[in-house]
Amino acid sequence: MMKQLFPIGHVMGFIFSLVLTLVALLVVYTDMSYTMGMVILVSTAVIQATVQLFMFMHVNESKEDKNTLYINIIYAVVVSLITIFGSLWTLVWDW
């Protein structure tokens, strides 16, 4: 009964995301090499996104229609790639 009432997934997700944010902050507050910092930032970012997708957005819960899910994820990836590489192209690479 207690298990059903207590939103354990949400609470865990919340704690995970706080911890991951704190780990990312370490990059600013400690002395480390550029590569090391990047490795930490990228990996915490990927884990963070995964935590959000599973704990809060429930990607693993859609039973019937997996296609909509895949279309959505592809659309999201495409839009973010456009944003990132488009910005790099205009602001940094510039040709």
Partner: protein
């Protein structure tokens, strides 16, 4: 405590406009509180409105807020025009002009156009898909109150502390603490953040509603066009608004905590702000235009007495627009100095958008062709939209050419262009939609004669106001310029534009008069489907005014425009018998959450950290309460449903 920082400069200097504004705000607030107390309406207000989760009431609150903001933004526009009436006018100072065009832009786009559209979505979408509410009614209330309190926070800026003055775009480095040291731009970063979160939740809510709650038999390709446009709009919201969220958060860090994302030193990059702003900003203009296209599609088809021409191509063109809208943002800063390849690419993608948009224009024209056109007020707005918007679109293609844009960039030509798309596109559409769907909520139509008078005043004044700006822009008058000399020769055209803007305000006032008059005198409708039985979609299949539960029995749909064909073949869409109806219960938490966010934002604006932390904890407590709360709503028993149905005349189900 140092109270000085809360007092705006205008008050200290005894500026009559600011004193007038402060006095009127205080008087109006006192009048509202006194009125509510005198008429004993506090309980009514709390029970029926502030705690409501009913999509219709939330929609009405969105629309009322948007109308109020239309007047605030319109008054700002009028003041800008006053200042430009003649050379060397002394009505506003340069600083004041900056504050007002910033407020005007933000308020019109984020606190008028967006909420008006979201309000209409709220009222109409569940009805159009045969549902009893949105998927997450409680979240819907949270969305509204976050928008509302975000807007309030922005609106107090010009009387408490100082107004944002770096344009609605707030470009860095101008918006940095170095060049804008006051609290004004803190308001921008935080008020927009709060309202933006609300919008994002609306996006999620309506996607789920449309995907999961359609009446049995309504496949995606049987959905009304307004529902389609809302679905696509919400997808754009969900992908575009997080960019704004992040950009505003970075702005807040730069302004409040000394980070260096958008500075010109220490590895910061000022144009990164412009870039992120427009990655959100361009999709944003499609967020306010696509639902407008949906509204026009419904109205044009209803009042041509024909089905919408090219349904599939309408859907396809919206889907293409939604993807292209993420591929064009650089056209807002062609002149930054990036290479020719970048500009050529974004030039081409921008021009490509004209193709699906053109397809839609032709579809509307073909819908009109050989139709039995009925010239109601909403139809007049829709008919005026087609040529005026086309003018706005064609000048848009002119601006899309990167090399030519070096001439047009930041001139009055641009100002004319975006008013030519935003006003006939969005503003005409929401007004038309309001006239068209008004009976659903109120139970009567707005007076047609007054409505048409308002329409003609607005349509004519609009062109008088903004057509001259194209020529002023081509002659070299720049935007955001607070004065000009007589030698420039800008005087006469500016005078004409100002005269037009007075006409526009008269037109908007006529609409309000129209609403108030109709509340008292318009004849009440007795059955649904009020537009002479021409309704094609499900919102016309239920009673008017729509009961809390929308449909006593959930309709069943077997084709596009099912309601229209059911009427023609004398069938009923309602097959089941009445059962008890499950409804969500009202709750005060969304309102309280919004109010706490307001205080949190206020404390952040003034860097009052301890108070901000307390308010932040308040937000967390409310979120936790929601997480652990169990509320399964309630049931309306069969008897009560039957009684309500009978009170409408009792024939339909």
């Amino acid at each position: 405590m140092n109270w000085d920082k809360f007092i705006v400069d205008g008050l200290k200097h005894g500026d009559p406009l600011i004193i007038g504004a402060v006095v009127s705000i205080v008087l109006v607030s006192i009048a509202i509180v006194a009125g509510l107390t005198y008429f004993k309406k506090w309980g009514y207000l709390w029970r029926e409105w502030l705690t409501t989760v009913d999509h219709k009431k939330i929609g009405v609150m969105y629309i009322i807020s948007a109308l109020v903001m239309l007047f605030r933004g319109g008054a700002d526009g009028l003041m800008l025009r006053m200042q430009l009436t003649a050379p060397e006018m002394k009505f506003l100072t340069a600083q004041h002009y900056n504050e007002i065009f910033s407020a005007h832009g933000i308020i019109m786009i984020l606190f008028m156009a967006m909420p008006f559209i979201i309000g209409i979505m709220n009222v109409v979408i569940p009805l159009q898909i045969g549902a009893r509410d949105v998927a997450f009614p409680r979240l819907n209330a949270v969305s509204f109150w976050l928008f509302f309190f975000g807007a309030m926070l922005y609106n107090i800026a010009f009387v408490v502390g100082g107004a944002p003055d770096a344009g609605w775009t707030s470009y860095f480095p101008l918006a940095s603490t170095e060049f804008s040291p006051g609290v004004g731009n803190n308001y921008y970063a935080i008020a927009l953040q709060i309202a933006g979160l609300g919008t994002l939740m609306t996006g999620v809510n309506f996607i789920v509603t449309i995907l999961k709650m359609r009446a049995p038999g309504m496949t995606l390709m049987r959905m009304p066009m307004f529902t389609w446009s809302t679905l696509i709009t919400c997808i754009i919201i969900v992908f575009a608004f997080p960019v704004l969220t992040v950009a505003l958060a970075l702005m807040m860090f730069d302004r409040l905590f000394g980070s260096q994302f958008f500075t010109m030193t220490n590895g910061g990059m000022d144009m990164l702000w412009a870039n992120l702003f427009w990655v959100w900003g361009h999709p944003e203009v499609y967020i306010v235009i696509l639902p407008a296209f949906g509204i026009y599609s419904e109205i044009i088809s209803t009042f041509s007495r024909k089905n919408l021409y090219g349904y599939k191509s309408m859907v396809a063109s919206m889907a293409i627009i939604s993807l292209l809208s993420f591929l064009v943002w650089v056209h807002h800063f062609y002149t930054m100095g990036q290479g020719a390849a970048v500009n050529s690419f974004f030039s081409i993608t921008t021009m490509l958008i004209a193709v699906p948009t053109g397809v839609k224009i032709f579809n509307w024209l073909f819908t009109l062709r050989k139709g039995k056109i009925v010239f109601t007020t909403p139809m007049l707005y829709s008919l005026a939209f087609i040529p005026i918007f086309t003018l706005g679109g064609v000048t848009g293609v002119m601006l899309a050419m990167a090399s030519a844009d070096y001439q047009y960039h930041n001139t009055m030509f641009l100002v004319a262009h975006f008013h030519y798309v935003l006003i006939p596109g969005t503003v005409f559409a929401v007004i038309a939609g309001m006239y068209y769907w008004f009976p659903l909520i109120a139970g009567f139509k707005l007076n047609e004669r007054q409505g048409k008078a308002a329409f003609w005043t607005i349509a004519i004044s609009f062109n008088v106001t903004f057509l001259p700006l194209f020529f002023l822009g081509l002659d070299g008058m720049t935007r955001r310029q607070y004065t000009y000399s007589a030698e420039t020769g800008f005087g006469p055209l500016n005078l004409i534009a100002t005269i037009g803007s007075v006409g526009l305000m008269i037109g908007f006032a006529l609409i309000v008069y129209n609403i108030i008059w109709s509340f008292r005198h318009a004849p009440r409708e007795t059955k649904g489907d009020v537009w002479d039985g021409a309704g094609r979609t499900l919102e016309w299949a239920t009673h008017i005014p729509v009961p809390v539960y929308n449909f006593a029995v959930v309709p069943e749909v077997d084709r596009l425009d099912a309601f229209y064909f059911a009427k023609k073949e004398k069938r009923s869409l309602f097959k089941d018998k009445i059962e008890k109806i499950h409804m969500p219960s009202n709750n005060g938490q969304p309102f309280i959450l919004g109010a706490i966010f307001f205080f949190w934002g206020f404390f952040m604006v003034f860097s009052m950290w301890k108070s901000a932390i307390v308010a932040g904890i308040g937000v967390l407590i409310l979120l936790a309460m929601r997480t652990f709360e169990r509320d399964h709503g309630f049931y309306i028993p069969v008897d009560e449903v039957k009684k309500t149905e009978q009170s409408y005349g009792g024939d339909s189900v």
